[in-house]
Amino acid sequence: MKISLNWINEFVEIHDYMTKPQELAQILTFAGLEVESIEDKSKNYNHVVVGLILDKKPHPEADKLSVCQVTTGQGVVHQIVCGAKNHKTNDRVVVALPGAELPNGMKIGEAVLRNVPSKGMLCSFDELMIDPHLPEKPQGIVILPEQAALGQPFSEYWGLDDIIFELKVTPNRADCLSHLGLARELAALLDRPLKENTNVFTNYSEEIKNPFSIDLPLNAEADCQAYQGIYLKDVTVTPSPDWLKKRIEVLGFKSINNVVDITNYIMLETGQPMHAFDAKKIGHEQVVIRHSEEGEPFTSLDGQNYILPQGALVISNKLQGDVLAIAGIIGGKDFSVTPETDSLFLEIANFNTSQIRKTSRKLGIQTESAYRFSRGVDLGVGAKEALTRACFLLAKYTGAKISSDIKSFSSQSAFKAPAKIALSVSFAQQKLGFKIEFDQIEDVLKRIGCLFSKDDSDAQTFWVTPPSWRFDIEADVDLVEEVGRLIGYDKIPETLGSALNLVPTGHQSEYLQITRLTDKCVQAGLCQVLNSVFVSQVKEQAFTNDQSLMNNLLGQRLGGPVYLINPLSNEENQLRTLLTLKMADLVVQNLRQGVTKGQLFEIGSCVTQSSIASAGPQAPIVGSGVGGGMGADSVTYLEIPHLSLALWGKPVQAWLNEPEIPPVLRLKEILFSSIQSWSGINIQVKKPSDRSLLPAFLHKGQSALIYYNNQSIGFIGAMHPLWMEENKIREPVVVAELSLKNFLLDSQIEEKKFMPFIKRPLVERDLALILGKNKTSQEVLDIMSAVFGPILQNVELFDIYEGEKVPEGYRQLAYRLGLQAEQNLKIMTDIEINALIQQLITQLKNELGAQLREA
C-alpha cells in the first residue's frame, strides 16, 4: 500500500523525518510494517524554482529565440535563452537552473546559444512531465499565476515535495491500510500525540428529508454488520480542486470528479470504503441489502458485464430489483455519479470479510474497497471519523446540503464492547524471554490505544481492552507480540536453555532410506536431478500411451492421474505418475546444450488417485510416510517414491580399444548394483512374452521389465527409435524407472551383518552354451540358480559368439561359474560338482533347448 508522508504529517508530526525518510522506514519495518520502497517525489525537481521574467529581448542571431532576464528572488538574475513564444515580461515561470535533472532525463547546465550565454531553462509541462488537468493541453512554457512565490522550489509549489512509502501490510494489520491508521501506529512508535481532526461536520440539515429506507432481510444480516445511508441534496459535480487531485493521484488513483474523488480520499484517509450513488438513478426509495440470485446481470462502473452467482451480497433498489452495486466491491454503472448528478445517496457500511473475499474471488474483481473489506474495517471509531470527514468535504467542495436523517442499521453483535484480555507480567516475560517492567507494558499498550486496568486481586495481572481498530488482538499472546514489537525484538536475548533438554526420537526411516539410496546412486557415478512434479496431461498421455499398463508395470496402483484444478498453464496441469517423461526431456535439453554424455538419477514421488473406498477419516497408511491424505471428497491419493535413471552418449572416448558394452546393459549394472548395495535385494529384468506389455516410449528390442519377488516394479530400456527421431538424437539414450514402494515397505533394508567368509578359493567351471537367440540370459541364470542354489557364488558371462561356428538363429554364451559349499565344513568333491553340472545341462536342454558346446 502507498502512503504519502505529507498526508501522514497532517495526523502526526513527522516533518523532522522528511529529510531522513530511511530512518522512518526502518522504524516501521522493525515494527512489522515492512517498507518495500521509498519514492521521493521532489527528487526530479532539484534546482527547479519559480522565477519572474524581468526582461525579454529577441535573440540577435536567431529569429526563433528570445533572451530573457529572469529573477528567482533576492536580486538574483539569470540570463536564459528560450525557444518558446508564449511568454512575456512579468510572467511567472518555472526555471530549471544549472544542476537540475528533469524527470525526462534532461540535464541542465550553462550553455552558449548562438553566441549568447544561457544559465538555465524555462520549462514546459512536457519537460516537467506533469499533467496540468486542463481541457486543452497548453503549448509552450508554463506560466504560473501571480501568487507563485519567487524562488519557491517548484516541487513544493506544485505539491510534489512528498515522499511515498510502499508498505507491505500483513493481513493482521488491516488498521494500517489508511493514513490515519498508519499515523496512529507512528504516534505509538514515536511516542508522539495525534493531531486533532479539523474536518468535523456538524451542519446537518433538519429540513431535508432522507427519502430512502434501508431494508436488510434477516438472512443477509450476518453479511452486513452495519450500514449508514446518507442523503445529500444540491450537489454540484465538478472536477476536483488541485490539492485533491494531487493527493489521490500521487497514490495511483485516477481523478474522476469531486464526489468520487472525495469518497476515495476518505477511504485512503480513514480506511473506510464508501460509495456514492446518484440518488435519482436509484429510482425506488427502498434500498435493499440482499443476496443475489443466480444469473442476475450487473454492469460495473468500469463497464464490465457480469452474470452474478447465487449468494453474492448486493445493494438493490427494491426486493428482486436492479443491482445497484456488489456490496463492498464495486458500484453499478447505471447508478454512478455523473456531471448531471445533483443528489447523492452515500453508503458507509461494513460487510462480512468472508463474504467479500468469496465474492471478489468468484467474480475476479479486485478493488481497493474489496481489499479493505476482506481484511476488516473498523466498525467503531473508523466509521464515525469517515462520516464526519466525508460530509465536511462534500459540503465544502460540492455545495451539498446533508440531511440529518441518516438511515442506519447495525447488527447487535457489531458494536459489542471489545473483550477484555488478562495479561500477566510473568507470562509476557516467559514468552519473550527477558525481564520487562510492569510500567513498560502499561506504557506500550496504552500507546497503541488499549484501555488498561489493574487486577484488584493480583498486582502482576492487568486487564487490557484493545481499541476498536485493533480487532486482530484477541488473546494474551497477541498482546505479548505487541509488547515485544514495541519494546523491540532486538531486546530478545539468544539462549538455548531448556531447548536442549529433550532426548531425540530419531529420523523417520523413509528419509534415512532415501538418503542412503541417494548416496549409492552418487557412488555409482550418477548425477542427481530434481525435476518439478508438474507435467502436461497431454504430453504424459502421449508419452505413456496406456496409463493402466504403466500403473501395472510400476506396481499395483489403482487410480488415474491427479490434475490441478487451477494450473499455471497446460504445460503443468497434472502431477507426474512417472519420472521418466521429465527425465527424457532433460536428456534432450542437455544434448541441445551440447552436453554429449551423462548419467542422471532422480528419486521423487509419483502421484495417482486411488479408488480405495473410504473406510474412515484416516488416510490409508502405505508404509511410513509413503502415501497421501484423504478428506471429505473421499478421493485418496497415493504418493509413491520412484527411482529413475537415464544415461546417454558414448561411454568413454578412450584411445585404447575397449569392448563396447551396450548402454542399456551399462545402465542395468549401475541400477542392479545400486539397489543391491542399498537394500541387499537382487532385482531381475525379464522380457515379457508379449512385447506390447513394454512401455510405449521404449525400444521394443532393447527393453525389459524389472521384477522384484516376481512382481513387476519398473522398466529399463533404450528410448524408442521414433522418439529419437522426433528429438533428432543420434547418441544412444537409455532410461530405467522403478517404484521403491516395496523396498520401503519391507523391513528388509536392515543393518548389514558380518558373514564369516570361506577362505578356500572358489571352484570354477566354464560352460559354453549354444542356444536360440530368442532365449535370454536371464532364463539361463534362473535355471542355474535353481540347480545350484546358494552354492552358486557368482556367474560371469565372459563371451558371446554369433557366427559361422553356430547355426543361424543361435548364439553361444560362455559362463564362468564360481561355486562354493554353503558352509566351510564341507568340501565339495568333483563328483558332487559334476553331478550338479550334469543336472544343469539336462535342465538347460529340456527347458531352453540349449546345447553344451563340445570342447
Partner: protein
C-alpha cells in the same frame, strides 16, 4: 704322498677360470652354464674335493678347508653376478615397457548430489545436533492440515499470502511444510522436537519464484518455550550453516500459525555486514520466518495450550542454496543442466 703345495696351483688355476667365466657372463642362462660347468656335481671343483684321497690324513682337513673356501668365494661371486644381471634385466624390461603416463586414461564417472540435497542434508545435520528428528509428509494435503489446523480459516485473508494449487474441492498441494507439524502433533507424544522437509507448491511463477520449491522447518513443543530460546536456536543454526559467526535479527511479522511472529535476517555471509550486491548494500539478508506456536494451532489438534507452548521456524531451501553457492538465478536449480550439477561434486 702329495703335498698341499703340489695341489695348490691347480686350485689357483681353477679359481681364476671360474671367476673369469662368471665375470664374462652377461645373461642368466650363460651364468647358469658356468655354475653347471664349474661347480656342479661333476664339475672340476667337486673333482678337486675328491683329491683329498691323495693326501695324508692330517692334511685332509686343511685341503678341505681350502677347497671349501674357494667354493664359498665363487658361490658368493656367482650370487653377486646373478643379482647384477637381474638388475640389468629389470631395467631393460622397464625400458621396454616405457609408457607416457601423461596420456589420459578412462575417467570414472563422478556422481553428484543436487545442491538442494546438499543443503537439506547440511541443515538436517545441524538441527539433528540440537535434537530435532526428521519427519516427512504427503505433498497432497487436506484443507485441514494445510490451512485450518494452522489457524488459516477459509476466507481468512492470510490465504492470499499463499497462492494455492487445488487438486480437489478439499485437497491442495501443500503450500508449506507446516502440515508436517500437525501430523507430528497428532501422532507423537509431548514434549516434541521435530523437523519437516520436502517440496511445497504455490501457483506463482516469475523470475524469483518457482511453483515447486522446498522448505525445511523445525518445531519444538514443551512446557516453557520462549522467543529467546528460538533466537538462540536460529543463531546456532546460522553460525553452523555459514560456518561464520554471523549475527541475526528478528523483524516483527505475521504468520497465522505463530504469535508472536518474526522474520529472520542474518548478516550477509558474503560481506559479513559491510554491504554487497547480494544483500543490496544493507548488510543483512532475509533467511526465514519463525515465531511462538499460536495456541490456536495446539488447540486444533487437542493439545492443552495452557500447559504446552512451542516455537517453530522455517527456511526456504532454494534461498539457502542460492546464498551458500552464490547462485543468482533460482531457475538454474530446477533446470538440471549437467554443467550446473557437475559443479557440486
Amino acid at each position: 704322498m702329495t703335498t698341499i703345495e703340489q695341489l695348490k696351483p691347480q686350485l689357483e688355476a681353477l679359481r681364476e677360470d671360474i671367476l673369469n667365466a662368471i665375470a664374462l657372463s652377461k645373461t642368466r642362462p650363460v651364468l647358469y652354464d658356468v655354475k653347471v660347468k664349474y661347480f656342479g656335481k661333476s664339475g672340476p671343483l667337486t673333482a678337486l674335493m675328491k683329491e683329498t684321497g691323495k693326501l695324508s690324513s692330517d692334511l685332509k682337513p686343511l685341503w678341505g678347508q681350502l677347497v671349501n673356501s674357494l667354493m664359498q668365494e665363487v658361490q658368493n661371486n656367482y650370487a653377486q653376478k646373478e643379482e647384477q644381471i637381474k638388475q640389468i634385466e629389470i631395467e631393460e624390461l622397464m625400458s621396454a615397457q616405457e609408457l607416457d603416463v601423461t596420456l589420459s586414461g578412462v575417467k570414472p564417472p563422478m556422481g553428484t548430489y543436487h545442491p538442494l540435497t546438499i543443503v537439506t542434508q547440511q541443515i538436517v545435520a545441524i538441527l539433528s545436533r540440537l535434537g530435532y528428528s526428521l519427519r516427512l509428509g504427503p505433498i497432497i494435503e487436506s484443507d485441514f492440515y494445510n490451512f485450518e489446523a494452522l489457524n488459516i480459516a477459509e476466507n481468512h485473508p492470510a490465504r492470499e499470502m499463499q497462492d494455492t494449487f487445488f487438486v480437489g474441492p478439499k485437497h491442495v498441494l501443500r503450500t508449506h511444510t507446516s502440515p508436517i507439524q500437525i501430523h507430528s502433533l497428532e501422532k507423537e507424544s509431548l514434549p516434541l522436537k521435530v523437523m519437516g522437509t520436502g517440496g511445497v507448491f504455490r501457483c506463482d511463477s516469475d523470475i524469483s519464484h518457482l511453483p515447486h520449491f522446498h522448505q525445511i522447518e523445525g518445531l519444538y513443543v514443551a512446557e516453557q518455550v520462549s522467543m529467546a530460546d528460538l533466537k538462540g536456536t536460529i543463531r546456532f543454526f546460522v553460525k553452523e550453516f555459514f560456518a561464520k559467526d554471523l549475527k541475526i535479527r528478528f523483524r516483527p511479522s505475521y504468520f497465522p500459525f505463530t504469535e508472536p511472529s518474526a522474520e529472520v535476517d542474518c548478516q550477509c555471509p558474503i560481506c559479513q555486514g559491510k554491504g554487497c550486491s547480494l544483500c543490496k548494500q544493507t548488510g543483512w539478508i532475509e533467511i526465514g520466518g519463525c515465531g511462538l506456536v499460536n495456541p490456536k494451532v495446539l488447540e486444533s489438534v487437542h493439545v492443552d495450550s495452557k500447559r504446552w507452548q512451542g516455537f517453530a521456524f522455517g527456511f526456504g531451501i532454494e534461498r539457502m542454496a542460492m546464498i551458500k553457492y552464490h547462485i543468482g538465478d533460482i531457475r538454474l536449480l530446477p533446470e538440471n543442466d549437467l554443467r550446473f550439477l557437475k559443479q557440486f561434486s
